[in-house]
Symmetry: C2
Subunit: 316 residues, 2 copies
Amino acid sequence: MIRIGLDVMGGDYAPDSVLKGALMAYSAWSDTFQLVLFGQPSVIQPFLKSNPEFAAHCDVVFTEQVIEMAASPVRALVEKPESSIVKGLEALHAGQIDGFASAGNTGAMLAGAVLKLGSIREDIRPCLMGCLPRPNGTDGIMLDVGAIADTKPETLRDLALLGQVYAQTVLGIEQPKIALLSIGEEPEKGNAVTVAGHKLLAEMENIQFVGNVEGRDIFSEKADVVVTGGFTGNIVVKLSEKFFEIAQEYNCADLPFFKRLNYETYGGSPILGVNKPAVVGHGISSPLAIQNMIWLTYDIARTGLCERIHSALTHE
Amino acid sequence: MIRIGLDVMGGDYAPDSVLKGALMAYSAWSDTFQLVLFGQPSVIQPFLKSNPEFAAHCDVVFTEQVIEMAASPVRALVEKPESSIVKGLEALHAGQIDGFASAGNTGAMLAGAVLKLGSIREDIRPCLMGCLPRPNGTDGIMLDVGAIADTKPETLRDLALLGQVYAQTVLGIEQPKIALLSIGEEPEKGNAVTVAGHKLLAEMENIQFVGNVEGRDIFSEKADVVVTGGFTGNIVVKLSEKFFEIAQEYNCADLPFFKRLNYETYGGSPILGVNKPAVVGHGISSPLAIQNMIWLTYDIARTGLCERIHSALTHE
């Protein structure tokens, strides 16, 4: 059975929100995967005692240290080798679990994933992927959404490939349409990195490159995979969250599309480009978001995404 | 009386949409300013004949050539000296009108504004400004929204000053809060240009710099002026348009905030950094958008924005 590790200590509302989310995920899907909780005994033991049925289906790895949400990532990884994040990633590397999810310090998860799991190819910088709801009910994806602030044209090519394999493997889109986010449809529109990136993407024979798309096309069916640098991608994702909040204020957040703009729907952002399935959740993760983050991690582990990415990116 | 020039030939639905919008603007505000129409006699004359009261309050400059929406900007300016855009900008430079608005070729308007009106300071690249509706009913602004695709840190400093003077002069915000759009609130978060730009903005003594804001803060009161490069700014603006369209599909576009996300509400984007008031409208401009573009141009001319920008940017 697939084993999914969960960082009980990560997130603004951890450990309560995380444990409640774990319970929700378990209640709905207990036969499908096994949860492995990483966290402090003082936190986990009382919860398991109150939830004996859940406890019977969980594994636990007790970890003493906690990486704070605002800690400097690399320093935290060095100074806290006994933290839930470090222990979780080490267990993932060692094959004791098949995926690891944390709503904790994103920087520590990203740096830790590279350090402990390794990049799929030496020159690849891991990125964060975001899901894009579309009004027709299907999902698209965008990457990078915040890991790579300064993007080179070659990075955009890697992102296109990572996104393609994700769309094929996890979303089941056989021949995904790949687009580059820019400020005009013409190849020569955009900033220097995007214009150079467009040329590289247009030369790739193993993707279906549909050209540039604009801001208005992000949540549309023009593209299944929207490629962009982490700076712009991050701003798009956070702006979309804001729109969801505004929709909530106006009591229209339950409408199908707006509902899926809610960060809770997808639960987290996969780290793509490392050798094993790691997912980071939003710091503010609610129990529902944690549940969905666990499922997302399970989906990535179950479908063998990392193996398929490895094969696509090392046998070009 | 203030005289506002209007490019009758510019826009996907020109001239019909433009003339209808001119009539709307006139009907509501005929005593406040005088319209000067720039366009082909074969188009303007029949309209004036059918609207004699409007005709009595309009001036007309007949122009024979039309710069197409998709034309190469610089080439179009050279090859069509008798076009409505070139003639309008020349009349503005000569003081025959006090502002000029066009929903036509944005690139031609931008290049033409530099060529015919001149930059306020030699080293300043003109930018496009966008209005940001806020849920509390007030407006903020963002710049650049598409003129400067590759932004240098020094450009961000110019944008901050341009935005400050606009907010003070046109929006009446005495001491506007100026923020830099980035992917984290900490000064060291962001891409290289933004991190360097943060340092420059933090050193400015003549602005109230409130630090970085994130994508979720764009439509909020954290900042009155959001400074960003034209690449990201353009994507934000077009994504917001998409959200308005989706709200329309779900029949909630009449809710106060969503309604103001409609590009028609503000009517256009001022070109800031040139010596005279020039405004570009959305290519798809409806009559309502044209009306509001005319009013926006009037507001900029009336308040003496360009003179105040000149004084702020040349006496630093």
